[in-house]
């Protein structure tokens, strides 16, 4: 008639949760190893072409290659042009370029 104690259920589910969390670590490790080949490919193409940036935001020149841009790049086309891409609001030009 005694069903499972609440605390037993608690510890069991906490243990399952922690086990799943550890599984994430295992999964991340596994993906890291599995991804080595593609990482090598990416590195190879970066080496061969001398690339400097990830291809994340292609909407404008200065969002595609932030390392190649400076603070004023967005305004080069016209001094009053508004800088209006959403991704540009998410990142800033490289710190070394915005200095004096």
């Amino acid at each position: 008639m005694m069903q499972c104690r609440e605390s037993t259920a608690f510890f069991l589910s906490a243990a399952v949760g922690l086990a799943l969390l550890l599984l994430l670590f295992a999964h991340a490790g596994w993906r890291e190893r599995a991804g080595r080949k593609s990482l090598e490919e990416k590195r190879e193409i970066v080496r061969a072409l001398g690339l400097t940036d990830l291809c994340l935001f292609t909407e404008a020149r200065y969002t595609r290659h932030p390392a190649m841009a400076d603070r004023f790049t967005p305004f080069q086309d016209h001094p009053f042009s508004l800088e209006h891409f959403p991704s540009a609001s998410l990142f800033r030009p490289p710190p070394h370029l915005s200095g004096p």
Binding site: S38, K42, G50, S87, P95
Partner: protein
């Protein structure tokens, strides 16, 4: 007194107490888990992009030299190469030819690069995956490209770059140096910029300083600076999303604060009854401790598991609009999972610990009331 037995008995009681208000507590756990989910999604995404940039761009050129004319990038004479090569420490130096190409049919902005070792002859291109995906259906295996004079060059598509490299190559169009000069009317003897490799990483800054001395109309950009940019970008990005969801966060904090700190009259009365029945103050605190742990631990675990699935299996689908921006060619990439004990413990201490404390502290007063309060009620 059996200490472990006491802990378990009180935990049992706490849990059956919580189960009395199944709906309410389940809703609390869900909302809480959602906040943890958002927070850890941002952290996962930020860390992964950062790691990716760090490891992929580790082989980027040590220094890029740009020529400035009236404060704007300008083509750089290849004659500068010789001067740069003379600087001690510079191992190799070469000129790059690259630029942007706007494709009006798709509305996308491509990166066109001339490849010195291009394996196919003239009138051929190799495309990045994103370009390939967005080709207008009518072009077949020929890509018409509009040249500087308004005429079209018809380029044979010979190959598509592997999808594994998409994060760096999605928008690339590669061709021969000759085709590049022809397409954009770039005269012989100039390049877009120079890339240098420096043998000793410690000499990079010295080399960069010498470049500005020898070639005053140029500016060098070092790899360390590029990587630092990426650190700054992705931290900023994470911060931006945090700012966007701070509304949700505030709402939750208010909810949790109200739930955890404001003991309802009913809870206060129940604590009074427990005291009257011979529970000590420490027993009541222990009960509240377990209550906080139960709610926040499960929310934490649920939130972090869902975030991992969201970012690494679901490709961050919830944040996609914010990430894509107005980009036409958003690369289709799977991030490399990054999960570290440090970040897990930081998230743990940001979520579980404050909630548990917020549960215990307000019950302290109720727990220290005299046991005879219940008789007088």
């Amino acid at each position: 007194m059996n200490r472990a037995g006491r802990q378990r008995n009180i935990l049992d009681f706490t849990l059956s107490s919580l189960l009395r208000r199944k709906g309410r507590n389940a809703a609390l756990v869900l909302v809480y888990a959602f906040v943890v989910f958002l927070l850890s999604s941002v952290v996962f995404l930020g860390l992964s992009l950062k790691e990716e940039a760090q490891s992929v761009l580790a082989d980027a050129p040590e220094i890029v030299v740009q020529r400035l004319a009236a404060g704007r990038h300008d083509m750089i004479p290849e004659s500068y190469l010789a001067k740069v090569r003379e600087i001690p420490g510079v191992r190799t130096a070469k000129a790059r030819l690259w630029g942007y190409y706007y494709e009006p049919l798709t509305g996308a902005n491509y990166t066109v690069m001339a490849d010195e070792n291009f394996p196919y002859g003239r009138k051929s291109v190799v495309l990045g995956n994103g370009v390939e995906r967005h080709l207008p259906p009518m072009v077949g295996r020929t890509l018409p490209m509009r040249a500087y004079d308004g005429s079209y060059r018809f380029m044979q598509i010979r190959e598509t770059l592997s999808s594994d490299s998409e994060l760096v190559s999605s928008d690339l169009i590669l061709m021969t140096v000759e085709d590049f000069r022809d397409l954009f009317r770039i005269p012989e003897g100039v390049g877009t910029d120079l890339v240098l490799s420096v043998a000793n990483p410690r000499e990079v800054s010295t080399v960069a300083r010498k470049i500005t001395e020898i070639l005053p109309d140029t500016r060098p950009i070092t790899r360390a600076e590029v990587l630092r940019t990426y650190d700054a970008i992705f931290d900023w990005r994470g911060g931006m999303i945090v700012a966007c969801m701070s509304g949700a966060l505030m709402a939750f904090i208010i909810l949790a604060w109200d739930k955890a700190t404001g003991l309802s009259a009913e809870e206060r009365k129940e604590i009074g009854i427990l005291k009257g029945l011979g529970w000590e103050t420490s027993d009541v605190i222990l009960m509240k401790f377990w209550e906080g742990v139960a709610v926040s631990l499960f929310s934490f675990l649920l939130g972090i598991l869902l975030a991992y699935v969201h970012v690494y299996f679901g490709s961050t689908s919830l944040f996609e609009p914010a990430l894509k921006g107005w980009s036409v060619l958003y690369p289709d990439f799977r991030l490399k999972p990054v999960i570290t004990p440090y970040m897990v413990s930081v998230l743990f201490f940001l979520t579980v610990v404050p909630y548990t404390i917020a549960t215990i502290v307000p019950s302290w007063r109720a727990a220290t009331t005299d046991p005879d309060t219940v008789m007088r009620a």
